[in-house]
């Protein structure tokens, strides 16, 4: 039986091996993905990101448990941890928090190291989610590393992005900075039993109100009076990221969170949202592949001697890196 057939039939070992090939960027992995691609597009991709130590793994564990118990869904989890920039090695410890899921045939947990290259990571993450999707998993949860560019990449990959916060990590200024909070479809305030949780929620709420002014309701003699709101905000299809408080070690707030995730999926499907995200994801993937192909082409076309010669000129400060590129591209640069 071919790898593709085995994976479509639910062979877990074949899937595990394919994931390794994808991660290693091996040609067999790419061939299998070509065959599997028509079988993708069914899974709900959920990204979970946030600072280190906010409890992402424990939250994913609880969420997956909930989906198994309440909805009987097949769940794949891709948990990413950092590689050492010096040795390339990694300790991948997310499974430690996910032991409750062990022994369940309908759960597949895969740990993955960042392996240094950011673009490459996004690409292999996308491809691994495709493999899970084709293998028939209803939900694919990607848990990112604690920090960095990949947080933003996850929003391009996932249908629904959860940003996990915890009390005591930052003030209102952190909340209005650009970046991670902007990508959230749902904000989770985990460790909700810790002191300061109200402040964290308040900071997030005020951040959201700046970004998405909600319909203002003024009270006049006890009667709610709707005020005029700017046109773009009366758009019923506007998704305002809800804030959900959780205590993932105890499972508090998890079923509410699952409801919000389901609501977000319904919201996306009711409008153009779902297909818009699919488009973005596939465009990002194609662009990344073009970059990689062009780079490979360049490596084939350029001899190492020529490259070293030009590099030496840059190193001696005879030419600038920009001029070096022009020389190496053989006038292909317009």
């Amino acid at each position: 039986m071919t790898t593709t057939q085995s994976i479509l039939n639910g062979d877990r070992l074949a899937l595990a091996r394919l994931l390794t090939k994808i991660e290693n960027n091996a040609p067999e992995g790419r061939d299998a993905l070509i065959e599997l691609f028509p079988h993708t597009g069914k899974a709900h991709l959920i990204g979970v990101t946030g600072a280190p130590g906010t409890g992402k793994s424990s939250l994913v564990n609880q969420l997956a448990l909930h989906y198994r118990k309440v909805e009987d869904k097949k769940i794949a989890i891709l948990a990413v941890d950092p590689s050492s920039p010096f040795t390339g090695g990694a300790v991948l410890g997310d499974r430690v928090r996910m032991r409750d899921l062990s022994g369940d045939e309908k759960v597949f947990i895969r740990s993955m190291a960042t392996r240094g290259s950011l673009g490459g990571l996004a690409q292999s993450t996308a491809n691994m989610t495709q493999a899970f999707d084709a293998a028939g998993f209803d939900m694919v949860i990607v848990e990112t590393v604690g920090a960095g560019q990949s947080e933003v990449d996850i929003a391009r990959l996932a249908h629904t992005t959860l940003v996990v916060e915890a009390p005591g990590l930052g003030d209102e200024i952190q909340a209005i900075k650009a970046g991670i909070l902007e990508i959230a479809d749902i904000l989770v305030v985990n460790k909700g039993d810790r002191p300061g949780v109200e402040n964290t929620e308040k900071a997030l709420k005020s951040m959201l109100e700046l970004a998405h002014p909600t319909e203002r309701i003024f009270r006049h003699h006890g009667v709610a009076m709707k005020a005029e709101t700017p046109k773009q905000n009366t758009n019923k299809n506007l998704w305002i990221p809800p804030i959900q408080r959780t205590i993932s070690t105890e499972g508090v707030g998890i079923s509410e969170l699952a409801d919000l995730i389901a609501k977000h999926a319904t919201h996306l499907r009711s409008g153009e949202g779902w297909s818009a995200r699919e488009r973005i994801r596939l465009q990002v993937e194609i662009e990344a592949l073009i970059q990689e192909s062009l780079m490979n082409q360049f490596r084939q076309d350029t001899s190492k001697e020529k490259y070293d010669e030009v590099f030496e000129k840059v190193f001696q400060r005879n030419i600038s890196p920009w001029e070096a590129v022009k020389m190496l591209m053989n006038g292909r640069l317009k």
């Binding site: 877990r12 070992l13 290693n24 960027n25 050492s84 090695g89 499974r95 430690v96 392996r115």
Partner: protein
């Protein structure tokens, strides 16, 4: 650009709660450029075999200080084989009497390490068995 890394599952089967050794080894393997999946304490053989399958590892490293190695190791090997992971090499560290060491090796355990074993030796043995 194929990039192959040695993937190792480090697990503590059974009921003893001493994981310092497992953590030291995990860290040493990381520093040798391997990807170490650490599963934590009190794993059943089933949990370990399942994790080894999902993670498609080359090596399973077991840390056993409880004396139950003669029960746990064969069971884990059996499950790995049942899952089709016959190529996975099993290494054990812990308090292992000499007579058991021989029997474990006969069962197909690749390496056995007691107190005072050097992490350099473990790294070298893993690299040699996996990359050949």
């Amino acid at each position: 650009m194929a990039e192959k890394k040695i993937r190792v599952l480090v697990a503590k089967p059974g009921l003893d709660g001493h994981d310092r050794g497992a953590k030291v080894v995990a860290r040493a393997l990381r520093d040798a450029g391997m990807e170490v999946i650490y599963t934590g304490l009190r794993q059943t053989p089933e949990m370990i075999a399942e994790a080894a399958l999902q993670e498609d590892v080359d090596v399973v490293g077991l840390s056993v200080l409880s004396g139950a190695h003669m029960a746990l190791a064969p069971r884990i090997m059996e499950l790995l084989h049942a899952n089709g992971q016959t190529h996975v090499k099993v290494f054990i560290g812990g308090i292992i009497p000499d007579e058991d060491l021989i029997r474990l090796k006969e069962m197909g355990v690749t390496g056995v390490y007691g107190p005072g074993a050097s992490t350099d030796d473990i790294i070298r043995d893993i690299q040699e068995t996996v990359t050949g």
